[in-house]
């Protein structure tokens, strides 16, 4: 089988073995990327065992002889691949600070959205990506520990349940993979909002703000708060994938970052408000 090269920009994975059922999704998301000579990760998706190839088929993610997760039902293969790639990055890149956070960019300024699952982070990412923002990353903020800039990744956004229909409604021709049903997170699909050519033009950008979004559909009026720096510090440390490995460097990076950016917690029900708010308060309206 010919390997499929997944160039995520900063990193490349060589996918050696995979079921043909994920080919459409692979081509949708990474079909246009330009492979590099050297891959940083070697990964494969294979049936759990010969028995499990036929009986309630399962799929196993493997990376360079390591199997980090339990097998999943065969139909969730593509979602497992994306999660596996997250794992690869988080357990191998100790040159950057990695935060569990979305990164959106406008007017050459980045906003981080660190958030817990269920806070509407990915839905917000997609909406902003459709409305003139650049999606640098949906899942993982890659932060340069010297310059404190955010690096772009060529990865899709992971959308769940009702959001899938929302995104389709906002952009009927959006590139969205086939839905994987009944995963640990419910129904899951992956969506991308830029081509490889567009991605190639992105540069690392300065981080202007950190916004903790909380979606609440019943909210009568939008509310936003500033947060004490010590609390933000604690939150960010908890959201960092590799804080424990980077040690002092992570401490220093998080601290310098908080010291220079604006931080808000925003409770919103209206996405237009969020766009306006970010332009007014965080990244500015540009020239």
């Amino acid at each position: 089988m010919k390997p499929f090269f997944i160039n995520m920009g900063l990193f490349q994975a060589r996918l050696n073995d995979y079921p043909s059922s994920i080919s459409p999704a692979l081509n949708q998301i990474y079909g246009d990327c330009q492979p590099k000579e050297m891959s940083d990760f070697t990964v494969s998706l294979a049936p759990g065992s010969i028995v499990r190839k036929y009986l309630r088929p399962q799929i196993v993610f493997e990376s360079n002889t390591q199997i980090p997760f339990k097998p999943l039902p065969f139909s969730q293969a593509y979602a497992l691949l994306e999660w596996g790639l997250n794992w690869c990055l988080a357990t191998h890149d100790f040159n950057h600070l990695l935060l569990h956070s979305a990164v959106l960019v406008k007017n050459n300024k980045a906003v981080l959205f660190p958030a817990l699952p269920g806070s509407g982070k990915s839905t917000l990412s997609c909406w902003l990506a459709i409305n003139g923002w650049k999606l640098y990353s949906d899942e993982m903020a890659v932060i340069n520990t010297d310059s404190l800039t955010a690096e772009p990744l060529y990865r899709p956004a992971c959308i769940k349940n009702r959001s899938i229909e929302l995104v389709r409604g906002w952009q009927p021709d959006a590139t969205i993979t086939k839905v994987c049903s009944d995963t640990a997170k419910g129904d899951v699909a992956h969506a991308k909002f830029q081509t490889w050519t567009e991605y190639s033009c992105l540069q690392p950008v300065e981080i202007a703000g950190i916004v903790f979004p909380k979606y609440d559909g019943d909210l009568a009026e939008e509310q936003y708060y500033t947060i004490a720096k010590s609390q933000v510090f604690e939150e960010l440390c908890q959201h960092a994938f590799n804080y424990h490995v980077l040690g002092y460097q992570a401490f220093d990076t998080v601290w310098r970052l908080i010291d220079k950016v604006k931080v808000f917690e925003v409770h919103y029900s209206n996405l237009d408000f969020m766009d306006e708010f970010l332009l007014d308060e965080v990244v500015g309206h540009g020239e």
Partner: protein, 374 residues
């Protein structure tokens, strides 16, 4: 090095790291994957960093090596931190805690310390101090995970260590030993000589003397039924041998080997060190034909068994050799009667749990948050 990566390429990388700068990116990719699996990436990264050649290594490769160094350095720091805490706790009770293997290399700052990863901290105390040590640790944030009654009995009655201890908040794993090999085997070495040479290192923690560290590493490598990181262990031994190479050192090693009856194991390792790393340590051949034949056979088996378990290096020979090592390791550990009992119980428990549907795998369910915090 063409597309095909071989074990010889790996050995050459250890012997002549400066030559790696001539590799193409494609060749680097192969060697990095194998180095990661063999747990030698950080070791080589530190070696390369100190060479002039570092700057001529492609940036993409340097990123991997740098990340590996960050990770290893973090573990290194952690060993000192945990080590100091454990040392203080036990010394206050009049116990002398001696760090072994990976932790010992780091504590003693031997030539293989930089980039040496260790999955747990190994500690040796005198058998008479075992109960005090365990109680002290249990009273200070260390705990045992629940294990089956049989496993507990196995550790307590047969083994040279107690069930692993885990740190409540940091998750560090601590193996507390009272011997260097299983007493039930009848092959546990008398420890007087090993204790005699215990050294207080500059950092204030205890380790065995270099010759005893070297000998213990051999015992651990050659008597275990698993040799997953066996090649890394050989690199450890290579570094120690080079660093301490002197008549006094080798005399002491031979004395310890003779007293603990692990002379054959020493000969096997020395032969392989000479073969792979181009050293010329004298290995006295055995007189008798039978013994000579046994030694040759063991050398052949370990030559293949110690090849890292990576698909790029896989061969039927190394698979077979590892199976022989597996069987030999078990037969060394326990007398046949005990071994038969041990296997029967393990098999029965395995079948029982399988039927019950409780085949707990090592892998975790997909949970992004938790899975990343390895």
């Amino acid at each position: 090095m063409a597309n095909k990566f071989s074990f010889e390429n790996l050995v050459q990388a250890i012997n002549w790291p400066e030559r790696l700068t001539h590799l193409s990116l494609h060749e680097w990719e192969h060697i990095l994957f194998v180095l990661k699996t063999s747990r030698l990436e950080a070791y080589l990264a530190f070696v390369l960093r100190d060479l002039e050649a570092w700057d001529s290594i492609p940036e993409q490769v340097r990123a991997h090596l740098s990340a590996a160094m960050v990770y290893a350095q973090r573990q290194n720091d952690q060993v000192f931190h945990e080590g100091q805490e454990i040392h203080d706790l036990l010394v206050a009770q009049g116990v002398i805690p001696v760090f072994l293997k990976g932790a010992a290399y780091i504590v003693a700052a031997t030539n293989n310390a930089q980039g040496r990863l260790c999955s747990d901290i190994d500690l040796l105390v005198k058998e008479g101090d075992l109960a005090t040590s365990e109680t002290t640790l249990l009273n200070n944030f260390w705990y045992h995970k629940t294990i089956t009654d049989y496993d507990d009995k196995y550790y307590r009655e047969y083994a040279h260590e107690i069930p692993p201890l885990y740190h409540l908040t940091r998750g560090t794993v601590l193996d507390l030993h009272h011997n260097l090999f299983l007493p039930v085997s009848g092959k546990a070495p008398p420890l007087d000589q090993f204790w005699q040479g215990v050294q207080l290192q500059e950092c204030g923690l205890y380790t065995l003397e270099p010759a005893a560290m070297f000998m213990h590493s051999i015992i651990h490598l050659m008597l275990n039924e698993e040799v997953v990181y066996g090649f890394r262990d050989m690199v450890d031994l290579k570094c120690l041998a080079q660093q301490y190479d002197s008549d006094a050192f080798w005399q002491r090693v031979e004395q310890l080997a003779a007293e603990s009856h692990f002379e054959t194991e020493l000969k096997v390792v020395m032969t392989l060190l000479n073969t792979w790393f181009g050293s010329a340590y004298p290995v006295k051949p055995y007189e008798g034909r039978l013994k000579r034949g046994k030694l040759q056979l063991l050398v052949r088996i370990y030559k293949y068994a110690l090849i890292p378990e990576h698909p790029a290096l896989h061969s039927v020979r190394s698979g077979l050799a590892r199976f022989v090592v597996f069987v030999r390791g078990h037969s060394m550990k326990m007398p046949p009667k005990v071994l038969l009992k041990h296997f029967s119980i393990k098999l029965w428990l395995g079948v029982y749990n399988w039927l019950r549907g409780d085949s707990t795998a090592d892998a975790k369910p997909v949970d992004l948050g938790a899975a990343f915090k390895r």
